[in-house]
């Protein structure tokens, strides 16, 4: 008689004393991934013009059929978007949306992007349909925080096309090249460091996203070279590089000044 099934009893009994894997969600929230797919925003240019040109590509590509767009010719005296047309009606039904981000990929003007917000709920089916007014960013260039939404710290900061374009999985040849338009409240954002670590923190106004988020990532998601002792060495070396570059820049500037004198 095969008695190996007794191993099941041993295993389940051992599990009684093990650490629990459950997170008690409303009390204890997991950090979000840097590029989490959440509710959409409609972006604007620096001058406040809407980026959406009413082309309906997003609606066409949507596999869940949740986007409804109607374009309208821009009024000549006060155009809404720099293009020929603008998104006159823009509705997303969040009871259908699967947050696949295909609309974001399809958009030719980076008008529609996604925030990291996913904690919003309704008591009415009609409330699940977000209109253009609700999706459009506010005058400060940040997504509108609607009363039934539960925004967390920093969720509304990096929500534009920049987020998509600086994705570290992009082609190496385009690393550090600005391929996105400016946006209201932020201007043209500088590129993120990317895989080779070149970065301009002064211009982006932040440390590279991945390193900022690292503190919140699950241990498995932190890149190997950033873990433990190796991570410390990596960060020390990076800061030394930065100091050396600053030093070199200052020396050349001084040398230039001397030469001019």
């Amino acid at each position: 008689m095969d008695l190996r099934f007794l191993g099941g009893f041993k295993l389940t009994f051992e599990h009684l004393g093990r650490r629990r894997v459950t997170r008690e969600y409303p009390d204890e929230k997991m950090p979000k991934q840097p590029r989490q797919h959440g509710r959409h925003v409609l972006n604007r240019y620096e001058d406040g013009m809407e980026k959406c040109i009413g082309c309906e590509l997003c609606a066409g590509v949507c596999p869940a059929d949740c986007i409804y767009v109607r374009g309208l010719d821009n009024p000549p005296d006060h155009p809404v978007s720099p293009g020929e047309r603008y998104g006159y009606v823009y509705e997303i039904n969040y009871l259908r949306c699967i947050h696949c981000d295909l609309c974001v990929e399809a958009c030719p003007t980076e008008a529609i992007t996604e925030t990291k917000l996913f904690e919003f709920s309704f008591t009415n089916r009609f409330d699940a349909i977000y209109t253009r007014d609700e999706l459009l960013v506010g005058d400060d260039g940040r997504p509108k925080k609607l009363p039934w939404e539960d925004w967390r710290e920093g969720d509304d900061l990096h929500t534009s096309g920049w987020m998509r374009a600086t994705s570290p999985s992009g082609a190496a040849a385009f690393e550090g090249v600005v391929q996105w338009s400016g946006e209201l409240g932020y201007g043209v954002r500088a590129p993120e460091g990317g895989q080779s670590g070149r970065r301009d923190d002064a211009a982006t106004g932040m440390l590279p996203l991945r390193e900022v988020m690292e503190a919140h990532l699950l241990p498995d998601d932190i890149p190997f070279e950033h873990r433990g002792m190796r991570g410390k060495v990596f960060r020390a070396r990076a800061s030394m590089d930065k100091k050396r570059r600053k030093l070199v820049a200052a020396r050349t500037r001084r040398a230039g000044l001397k030469a001019a004198r």
């Binding site: 009893f9 389940t12 009684l16 629990r20 894997v21 459950t22």
Partner: protein, 390 residues
């Protein structure tokens, strides 16, 4: 002595039946009912907690301290759900079935002795709702009736999955009831009584007098396995088999009727654990050599509750550790292993009781006969195979 005494061995009735006795009986029934319902509530909570611990989860922890009131919340929710009766259903039987499942579960508990004797205001009575002289037969009868609840529920639903579930249920429960009964007979032979209290009293001198040890462990394990099958608990939960039969016999049930099935299942688990404790572990008797009436009131009840709790834990452990049996494996186990083993062990027990240690010769004869039978079957099978090959 009162003529009633021949029907009920409870000393309460020795001096005739007056309204005081009736009142005591009613109170006993009410207390047992409430205790059983509350313990079912706690059992469901316990099962969910323990099984989630065994799977490194947390389990219910929202309703009340440690999620204790989760079952209550679920019950209230179920109560207010829409009560559906399928179009194709046999309406009367469909509505009757949940009660047929619940009632035996309640009734079995009445014959389980939960403690020693108690005296209140000159009335001496047993801590047991009823103590009929045929106690253990009553348990068997009721557990058979609960098959009807499951079977009729599936049959009357007018739907294929419940029907399949109930066909499985009737086959499974009937075949395991044979093994169950044979092991009970072994207990009855040593106790020389059918009354549950007498069975407890017969093993009440010391823990080595428990039927577990006295009968040589085997009947206990066979009984435990067949009772698990009788309860339709994992790994024998083919009746419900979520992954094969949607929900099994109760697929079409909703609202309070579904809750009744759920209640019955867990109540059966508790009562059957109590029956195992009664039959094989000396019931309310502690492990220290000690007879019930000499001990105080509370300790026997505590011992009884503790022992029952161990079995409840074991049932949850079964569920966490063992995968469900396939239908043919279930039938093989029932007919080819459990029944022959129970029968053989019963013969040995009977022989030892009658002839003393000479009775062990029966065991030897069984081994020889069994080997011969196995050989015969082997030859037969080999021959059929060769014939089929041509």
């Amino acid at each position: 002595m009162n003529p009633l005494a021949s029907f009920a061995t409870d000393p309460l009735f020795f001096h005739g039946v007056h309204w005081v006795e009736l009142l005591i009986v009613v109170i006993k029934v009410l207390v047992a009912f409430v205790v059983l319902l509350v313990s079912v509530m706690l059992m469901i909570w316990f099962e969910r907690k323990v099984i989630s611990d065994m799977q490194s989860r947390i389990g219910p922890n929202r309703a009340g301290p440690y999620g204790l009131f989760q079952t209550l919340a679920d019950g209230i929710k179920l109560f207010f759900k829409e009560d559906l009766v399928p179009d194709q259903a046999d309406r009367f039987v469909f509505k009757l079935a949940p009660y047929l499942a619940l009632l035996p579960a309640l009734l079995i508990f009445t014959v389980v002795p939960v403690g020693g004797d108690l005296s209140i205001a000159g009335h001496h009575f047993e801590l047991q709702v009823a103590d009929p002289p045929f106690g253990i037969l009553f348990v068997l009868a009721m557990s058979s009736i609960s098959v009807y609840g499951v079977m009729l529920a599936g049959w009357s639903s007018g739907s294929k999955y419940p029907l399949l579930g109930s066909v499985r249920a009737s086959a499974q429960m009937i075949s395991y009831e044979a093994a169950l009964g044979l092991n009970v007979v072994a207990v009855v032979l040593t106790a020389r009584a059918l009354s549950t209290r007498a069975i407890v009293a017969s093993q009440a001198h010391a823990f080595w007098d428990w039927n577990l040890i006295r009968l040589g462990f085997v009947p206990f394990f066979l009984f435990l396995i067949s009772i698990t099958a009788e309860l339709n608990r994992p790994p024998f939960d083919l009746v419900e088999a979520d992954s094969e039969l949607v929900g099994g016999f109760n697929t079409e049930y909703s609202s309070i009727r579904f809750a009744l099935f759920y209640l019955a299942e867990f109540m059966n688990t508790i009562t059957m654990s109590a029956v195992v404790v009664t039959l094989f572990f000396g019931g309310p008797d502690g492990p220290i050599p000690r007879f019930i009436p000499t001990s105080d009131i509370w300790m026997p009840i505590v011992w009884f509750a503790l022992k029952t709790l161990v079995f409840l834990f074991i049932y949850v452990w079964f569920r966490a550790a063992l995968p469900r049996l396939r239908y043919d494996q279930l039938m093989d186990l029932g007919w080819k292993v459990l029944i022959p083993m129970s029968l053989g062990w019963l013969l040995v027990v009977a022989a030892v009781i009658v002839w003393g240690w000479w009775g062990l010769l029966v065991a030897l004869a069984e081994v020889v006969l069994g080997a011969g039978l196995a050989r015969a079957f082997g030859v037969g099978a080999a021959r059929t195979e060769t014939e089929e090959a041509f």
